[in-house]
């Protein structure tokens, strides 16, 4: 194994630097004692983080994002779980096309989803834009992810466990509660975490569909225009990056937990 590293290995390292490099500048500059994101670095400071925490409109939009994210992740997972059970445990006529339709939000540009929702909400339902309308858009966006995570978990364990429970006299509901749910739990938690991240980080739909209340990405976007707000923006951005990275790692580790899936790295 020891020897000259292969060209592909060097390429892979370069690829990782390209992937992480630009994003890593954000935490670097956020700790730099300067109001500009420029080299050479001046010195270490945490004052940008302190001023960020003192910013009430930021805290307010953070609260909004947390509320929407939690509500969306619970709703999308609660909708996704029975659907994933249906598509993995029942022989359904038209199951393929149904699953295909559920994956559509992955390939429709989010601006189209945003303007379509805007059209029906404002011109047909005559409703006010609010965090509720943002949440509705985010649930749609989360369904394909929640479905894929849950279906791969449900396919990862033996159906005969559920059959055994039914044969031993449990009804469908108790089988679900006592067998399916505990076995699917890592997938459920992973779906909750991933849907939360999607909603928490989503910008375009929130930007089009929010009323007077900002979510965190919408607030962040409004700050990007002001050069003098840059350090605070960098601190906020770094905090968001760190938080989502931790959640992703947790979700991925849960997803791998005990899944005997033959499809490593499958979405």
């Amino acid at each position: 194994m020891l020897g000259k590293p292969s060209a592909l290995f060097i390429y892979a390292i370069a690829f990782m630097i390209f992937l992480y490099g630009p994003v890593m500048l954000m935490p670097v500059f956020s700790l730099n004692d300067s109001t500009f994101a420029t080299f050479p670095l001046k010195g270490f400071t945490t004052r940008h983080y302190a001023s960020m925490l003192a910013n009430t409109s930021m805290i307010l939009s953070l609260k909004n994002s947390l509320v929407v994210g939690v509500a969306v992740s619970i709703t999308a997972t609660a909708i996704g779980l029975p659907a994933a059970i249906a598509l993995t445990r029942y022989r359904l006529p038209g199951g393929g096309p149904v699953l295909g339709a559920m994956m559509l939000p992955l390939v429709i540009p989010s601006i189209v989803i945003a303007v379509a929702l805007l059209a029906i909400i404002l011109r047909f339902l005559h409703m006010e834009l609010s965090l509720w309308t943002v949440g509705a858009g985010h649930i749609l966006l989360c369904i394909p992810f929640s479905m894929t995570v849950l279906m791969s978990r449900l396919e990862g364990f033996d159906k005969s466990l559920e059959e055994a429970s039914r044969d031993l006299g449990e009804n469908a509901w108790m089988t679900f509660v006592r067998v399916t749910l505990p076995l699917a739990a890592p997938g459920v938690i992973s779906s909750l975490l991933l849907c939360f991240i999607i909603s928490f980080d989503e910008f375009v739909i929130a930007f089009f569909l929010t009323g007077t209340e900002n979510t965190l990405p919408v607030y962040l976007f409004s700050q990007l225009r002001f050069p003098n707000k840059l350090p605070g923006t960098l601190a906020l951005g770094s905090a968001i990056l760190l938080g989502s990275a931790l959640l992703v790692v947790a979700a991925e580790m849960l997803r791998k937990l005990g899944v005997q899936s033959a499809k490593p790295g499958d979405l």
Binding site: P22, P109, G265
Partner: protein, 311 residues
């Protein structure tokens, strides 16, 4: 003697299945199907000041293609339209997305190949490192490039403090190339894993057979690996191309006046100029053009047959 199990009262499979599916289907109908229908209907109405005139009209579609005798020339191409901005931005968005997609696939494929055929230890670590950017804020990944390429950005100030340049390079940010680099970077995380999965699925004995029958490594790659991984790679390419055509964040943050795309115009029509019906027509036309291009492409490369083969 064993008593036979009591016959369970059971719903037929399809009914039980669809009952379980119904919440998801209802949500999809309410948040996707109905809004798209609404968008379609809206595109046949017209905006009169602050009000919407609900009489059926094709005026919005006509506005998008209305010819004019004085063509506007963009990049040497004449656009003979009375409202040329839509056609110009449409073409520009398609070209920019296409270039970004080609770069993304060209960069992601070797990485996926490395992961599938070379990595033996710490594979899970590599996969998780490739997964994290996939999930983290798109907005921040795009914004990062503003810090890299900006007038007072990392490249300019870095080169300046190293004494390589004297004045900041102004051409880095706010142009179509900056948009394409940023798009490529922002979406590359979505492609490595699908390509990796399609490479991982390849039966290794096929590769051995090719070698045993005398193929060189390059020839083997060209004749076995590449064709068998093509369906996954094409799917990954579409997963980048389709959403990026309508991207709004990247052109807004790093595009400047020269790097605008069709998503920028759509946002203006809906939120600034308040001409939602025209914006709706634009969205419908954009989706139709994308769907047409994708269908044509899949037909041209024989995608259905390809999938059949690599199954």
């Amino acid at each position: 003697m064993l008593s036979s199990p009591k016959p369970r009262r059971q719903w037929p499979d399809w009914l039980a299945g669809y009952a379980l599916l119904s919440p998801a289907l209802l949500v999809m109908a309410a948040t996707l199907a109905a809004p798209v229908v609404a968008l379609f209907v809206l595109s046949f109405w017209s905006q009169t000041g602050f009000d919407i005139d609900r009489t059926f009209t094709l005026a919005n579609y006509w506005k998008l293609i209305e010819p004019s005798s004085e063509p506007m020339v963009w990049m040497g191409i004449p656009f003979p339209f009375a409202y040329p901005v839509a056609a110009i931005l449409m073409l520009k968005s398609l070209v920019m997305s296409l270039v970004a997609t080609v770069f993304v696939i060209a960069m992601a494929y070797p990485m996926a190949y490395f992961l599938a055929f070379r990595v033996t230890r710490h594979k899970a670590l590599w996969i998780i490192l490739l997964t994290i950017p996939f999930w983290t804020s798109y907005l921040l990944r795009v914004f990062a490039w503003k810090i890299v390429l900006g007038y007072n950005g990392a490249i300019n100030t870095g080169l300046k403090s190293l004494g390589i340049i004297e004045a900041p390079l102004e051409f880095l940010l706010y142009n179509p190339i900056a948009v394409m680099i940023t798009l490529a970077h922002a979406w590359i995380a979505f492609t490595v894993l699908p390509i990796y999965v399609s490479l991982e699925k390849i039966d290794r004995s096929l590769l051995e057979a090719a070698t045993d029958l005398g193929d060189s490594r390059l020839k083997r790659f060209w004749r076995v690996t590449l064709p068998l991984s093509a369906p996954g790679t094409i799917a990954a390419a579409l997963l980048v191309f389709i959403p990026t055509v309508g991207d709004y964040v990247t052109p807004t943050l790093v595009g400047g006046p020269g790097g605008t795309m069709i998503g920028t115009l759509m946002q203006e029509l809906f939120l600034r100029q308040d001409n939602a019906p025209l914006g709706a027509a634009l969205a419908i036309v954009m989706m139709a053009i994308i769907a047409g291009i994708v269908a044509l492409f899949l037909w041209a490369v024989g995608y259905a047959k390809m999938r059949e083969r690599s199954r």
